[in-house]
Amino acid sequence: MLGTGLLLYMLSKEIYVVNHETIAGASTLIVLIYAIRKFGPQVGAFADKLNEEKVAKAQEVKDTAINSLKQAIADENKEQWRVEGRNYLFDAKRSNVVMLLETNYRERLLHVYEEVKKRLDYQVNLQHVIFRREQEHMVNWVEKNVIQSLTAQQEKESIAKCIADLKVLSKATHASL
């Protein structure tokens, strides 16, 4: 309202003179308004896109940092859980080693026992052998002495007796058949 009134007043009183500059201004105005209407939104959208890209880059940096830190926390937790599990591993390994040691000890014990038994068996066998030799020697000596003591006459007499006994026995057998 005020603008229209002011403009008309200035024009009618020739305070604002209409000269060539007015026409020039009018043509400039027309060109400018046309350009702004046509390209204004595009330029605005472009400027917004540029800013959006900047913000997205900064955001991406922040997100990457946060994600990497979260990943680090998860890894740390996993490592802590692993450390707890490691105790069981150590216990298993320890018992394994103890078993191995014991097996070794038992084996060696067995070995010692066998060695000792072998030596004792040897001594026992040795005693047996000596005893048997002595026995045989004694028997041989007795036999030799007995045979030496047997004279020839007694030999003949025993043989004749054996024959007479045999005849009697054979007669007895014939009779029983």
């Binding site: 209409v18 000269n19 060539h20 500059e21 007015t22 026409i23 020039a24 201004g25 043509s27 400039t28 027309i30 060109v31 330029v43 605005g44 472009f46 400027a47 917004d48 540029l50 800013n51 900047k54 913000v55 900064a58």
Partner: protein, 226 residues
């Protein structure tokens, strides 16, 4: 009308105070300095534009030439903005004054020449003689090349002044013609008005192009002498 035609080219005074300095400083207000990551749209578009222009303009220079980046960028921004602002009615364009254009052209050109003589004396002197000239023509050619060298700043300044001044004069003349023809024959006035619109589009282009040409030539002189 004669007085009015050239009245727009006199030094603007307001109540006897020369405010031409204010007018020269004024375009710097229109370029806000971006001091955040995300600025308003104006600053973002200007920042993108300046990056684009500087990338293309400085790609031909080596390291020494690229130290002139600030100078060249502020030059193209100043000339472009003052030329564009001059298209508004009742405005004063400082680049229409030969004094100012000479003041811009001569120091810049002299800077490139002196730099060339200081750092690459032999090559700068060798510029005076094009390759492969026959022996008897040499003295003549040296004189011609010297003249052509010394005419460079004058050409820079006069080119800019003449182009902008001629454009403004044409706009005023055709605007005046349209005004007069409106009372006599409105149809012709309409045609003249359409011509004026086309001329305005041309002047917009010329404003930008002149800035570009000025800066390009300075950078070319720099490239020769770096």
């Amino acid at each position: 009308m004669n007085e009015n035609l050239f009245a727009s080219f006199t030094t603007p005074m307001m109540m006897g105070v020369p405010i031409v300095v204010l007018i020269i400083i004024f375009p710097s207000i229109l370029f806000p300095s971006p001091n955040r990551l995300i600025n308003n749209r104006l600053a973002t578009v200007q920042q993108w534009l300046i990056q684009l222009v500087s990338k293309y303009m400085l790609s031909i220079h080596n390291y020494k030439g690229q130290t002139w980046a600030l100078m060249l960028m502020s030059l193209i921004l100043f000339i472009g903005s003052t030329n564009l602002l001059g298209l508004l009615p009742h405005s004063f364009t400082p680049t229409t004054q030969l004094s100012m254009n000479l003041g811009m052209a001569i120091p810049l050109w002299a800077g490139t020449v002196v730099m060339g003589f200081r750092h690459k004396t032999k090559a700068s002197l060798a510029h005076f003689l094009p390759q492969g000239t026959p022996l008897p023509l040499i003295p003549m050619l040296v004189i011609i090349e010297t003249i052509s060298l010394f005419i460079q700043p004058v050409a820079l300044a006069v080119r800019l002044t003449a182009n902008i001044t001629a454009g403004h004069l044409l706009i005023h003349l055709i605007g005046g013609a349209t005004l007069v023809l409106m009372n006599i024959n409105p149809v012709t006035a309409l045609i003249t008005f359409i011509i004026l619109i086309l001329l305005t589009i041309l002047e917009l282009a010329v404003a930008l192009i002149q800035a570009y040409v000025f800066t390009l030539l300075v950078s070319l002189y720099l490239h020769d002498n770096t």
